[in-house]
């Protein structure tokens, strides 16, 4: 098993495109190492992207934020200004595993592990984040909701990696929130995850919204109907009911050891409403 | 003569008889007498049973004295986690 840690995106792409056998990109390793130990994967080549400066940086860009794919949750948490602009994204990233896992887990890894239950993905989608990919044919931008196609299935082409994410500029009176349901208070995989991002007009009415749901379908969903259900409202009772109904309507979950179809559908509606109310409250005071 | 009661399934090894009056000065003597009466129960007494003499439980104590007027219960071994 080869291990390479290139210091440039080009170097990483070259290694990945040249590889013939099974190959894995290593960011935080919190999924990859577990899968290796469990004999789920047995890569011939591991490409560690943490030596690439671009994947480790957090910077302001065109009024928005660019976050390297290999920045850890713990590092995001310590970034006060980012946290103020995108509290939902940061809190989602900080729900991935334990404090120890926080020290390793990254947004890029969380997305590319290809799990519909990934905590940070609904928050990124709600935020309208765009992933910057680099590959043999150069770079391209892809909305996060288009990166994951299904369980363990990604839109990445051979030799392509996720380099960073761009969070758009924040309009005034905007904020976001992410909630997930787990049986314990920590350590579990999300049974349902809900990310909501809202913008209010001067009168406090919701003028823009994005809603995303995780772990209720084969991929993390961007729920346009849910957004429509609250735009133009102040999230009054009626709007909340519409929001819940829209969230329920898109759920196509599975029965498994973590939750039943019925449970996931019910809780998706509840969490979407609760996340929206938190986002609303934050937007008012932002 | 001590009053002797078999608890649980032990009575099935004595043709259903669960109560005896037996004169025995010790647990060993008691086991010997019972085995004479009902050979089938012998191995089970050897495998290990608990004996409650006048309310106090004893395990693996063949030499424990039994008073003439004692009430004795024989029950399965008790252990724990």
């Amino acid at each position: 098993m080869r291990y390479e840690a290139p210091d440039s995106v080009e170097g990483a792409v070259a290694l990945l495109s040249a590889a013939t056998g099974e190959v894995r990109v290593l960011a935080g390793g919190t999924d990859l190492l577990v899968q290796m130990r469990a004999d789920v994967v047995d890569p011939e080549l591991i490409v560690d992207i943490k030596k690439i400066a671009e994947t480790r940086a957090v910077s302001e860009e065109k009024g928005g934020w660019r976050i390297g794919a290999a920045v850890t949750g713990a590092e995001l948490k310590e970034h006060a200004r980012l946290k103020k602009a995108w509290p939902g994204v940061v809190e989602a990233a900080n729900l991935i595993g334990s404090t120890q896992v926080q020290g390793r887990a990254t947004l890029g890894g969380n997305l590319c592990n290809g799990s519909p239950a990934a905590d940070s993905v609904p928050a990124l989608i709600a935020a309208g984040a765009v992933a910057t990919l680099a590959g043999p044919q150069g770079r391209r931008d892809l909305p996060v909701e288009d990166v994951m196609l299904g369980p363990r299935k990604l839109a990445l082409r051979k030799g392509e990696i996720v380099v960073s994410f761009l969070l758009p500029p924040r309009a005034p009176r905007s904020s976001d929130a992410y909630l997930r349901f787990i049986p314990r208070t920590e350590m579990d995989i999300a049974v349902v995850g809900a990310g909501v991002s809202l913008t209010l007009d001067g009168s406090g009415t919701i003028s823009a919204a994005r809603v995303s749901l995780g772990a209720v379908a084969a991929r993390v969903l961007l729920v346009a109907e849910a957004a429509q259900a609250v735009i133009g409202s102040r999230l009054d009772e009626a709007a909340q009911r519409r929001l819940e109904a829209a969230a329920r309507a898109v759920c196509r979950p599975i029965d498994d050891k973590r939750g039943t179809i019925e449970f996931r559908t019910d809780v998706a509606a509840v969490l979407t409403r609760r996340a929206a109310l938190i986002a609303l409250d934050r937007a008012r005071t932002s | 003569m001590a009053r002797v009661v078999l608890i649980g399934n032990l009575a099935q090894l004595t043709g259903g008889v669960a109560e005896f009056t037996i004169s025995a000065a010790s647990v060993k003597q008691l086991f010997d007498r019972l085995t004479e009466l009902h050979p089938e129960i012998g191995p089970h007494l050897q495998e290990g049973v608990a004996v409650a003499i006048d309310g106090q439980i004893y395990q693996d104590t063949l030499l424990q004295p039994i008073e003439p007027d004692s009430e004795v219960f024989i029950l399965p071994q008790i252990a724990g986690g």
């Binding site: 098993m1 080869r2 291990y3 577990v34 130990r37 595993g97 334990s98 896992v101 920590e186 | -």
Partner: protein
Amino acid sequence: MAKHHIETVVNGDAVEFLCETEETLLDVLRDTLNLTGSKEGCASGDCGACSVTLDGRLVCSCLVLGCEVAGRRIETIEGLAKGEKLHPLQQKFLEHAALQCGICTPGFLVASKALLERSPDPSEHEIRFWLAGNLCRCTGYDKIVSAVKDAAATLRKG
């Protein structure tokens, strides 16, 4: 392929070792460097018994490859006591009887130290959530939380 030759710093000492790509930092610490204070409870990052710090950042050493730590600074349970003197956390764990079997204790101590370095006066809530990645099956966490609070107070007094 040939093993990786890694130079790193463990508990302040420069060390070199050879490892296969698939060996984790925990494998290296325990089997190659004979630092068996870090324990393997799950090898999947769910129990925290293998907690160490990597350049001051708390991680599970079972989720780090040995070949990733070249040039890094690693702190393990073996580095917690300074010479004769136990770290206040170690002392308070003993005074509060915050361990029963003791298998999870090294991980809790390393994780607690990382907490107190960031948050000198943590609330019970903060302690419990910071330590949620460290499983203890014996104590019910009660005496561990008390010990960490008490150690924090001692450290604040300096």
